[in-house]
């Protein structure tokens, strides 16, 4: 569980070029971390790759915070 959270945060830090301290679970990708719509698509694709899962478009739309991403992956990831 914490492992997934760490991996998600690492991807967000790398991708958005933000400080690790900013990547709190309630941080919103767009409002708090400066992501644009293209960034959110790239993040979803990066999560899919890292965790070997598929995130359907309607689920991806609901992933707005770091915590949303962690919860979705916890519920759907095999590894």
């Amino acid at each position: 569980m914490s492992d997934i959270a760490e991996r998600v945060k690492k991807i967000v830090v790398e991708h958005l070029g933000v400080e690790a301290a900013q990547v709190k679970e309630d941080a919103k990708f767009i409002d708090d971390l400066g992501a644009d719509s293209l960034d959110t698509v790239e993040l979803v694709m990066a999560f899919e790759e890292e965790f070997s899962i598929e995130i359907p478009d309607d689920a991806a739309e609901k992933i707005q915070t770091v915590g949303d991403a962690i919860n979705f992956i916890n519920a759907n990831a095999k590894s």
Binding site: D36, L38, E42, M45
Partner: protein, 245 residues
């Protein structure tokens, strides 16, 4: 100016007249090139002619899996793809009344759908590196229309609309997406025209001659260059004045 040293380019349809000239020109400016097309032998010949910094990957643009493989192999061969030139294209000319579904679909599939798929498969790396050039070879007939080419003209016009959309999606990542629209160019494709047909065409070209593949390639070099970073969503017409749009 227009130095492409250190850049990596993938050119489809490189076994054809215009595609070969484009690959040679990009290579001459210093880029590594991956040549793609359906005729493996012709690709290997061009690869041997270019020498260093040249790779060949045969692929079919009507096959989704083959397109994925092409993107992966080109990226593996060159380490990245900075410049994608979607030049592959086919014609299946026939007046619309007599045009078969199959001829319509094949032309759309290769010229439009194949281009979209290959662009989608390469844009991720470009986004990550915050740099990219996509150059789609369309045609004057995509803008003017041409009797007997409803399928071809539709596909080429489709490329223009697609490119404008992609240009807007990708501009913030320093990726430009442009079209280049050749007029009548001297290639094996136009060699088969009769003298009378050629005369008819030239009557509509103010420059009074066919264009050369090198003149198309020069436009591609420009659009691929760092100097053209602020040019996106545009269509560059190279046609001897045949249509002024």
């Amino acid at each position: 100016m227009f130095d492409l040293t250190g850049k990596a380019a993938l050119v489809t349809g490189a076994s054809g007249g215009i595609g070969g000239a484009i690959a040679r020109a990009l290579h001459k400016q210093g880029a590594a090139v991956t040549l793609s097309g359906t005729r493996a032998e012709a690709l290997e010949r061009l690869k041997a002619e270019l020498g260093e910094r040249a790779h060949a990957v045969a692929a079919r643009m009507d096959d989704a899996a083959d397109i994925e493989r092409l993107a992966k192999q080109a990226e593996a061969a060159m380490g990245k793809i900075d410049i994608l030139v979607n030049n592959a294209g086919i014609t299946r000319d026939m007046l619309s009344m007599r045009m078969k579904d199959e001829d319509w679909e094949k032309v759309l599939q290769v010229n439009l759908t194949g281009t979209f798929r290959l662009t989608r498969a390469t844009m991720r790396g470009m986004m990550r590196r915050r740099h990219g050039r996509v150059i789609n070879i369309t045609s004057i007939v995509g803008v003017t229309g041409n009797p007997g080419q409803a399928n071809y003209a539709a596909a080429k016009a489709g490329l223009i609309g697609m490119s404008k959309s992609l240009a807007q999606e990708l501009a913030s990542r320093a990726i430009t997406v442009n079209c280049l629209a050749p007029g009548f160019i001297a290639t094996p494709m136009t060699d088969v025209l009769t003298d009378e047909q050629k005369k008819g065409i030239l009557g509509r070209v103010p420059a009074e001659r066919l264009g050369t593949p090198e003149e198309i390639a020069a436009g591609v070099v420009y659009l691929a260059s760092d100097e053209a970073a602020y040019v996106t969503g545009q269509t560059l017409h190279i046609n001897g004045g045949m249509a002024m749009i």
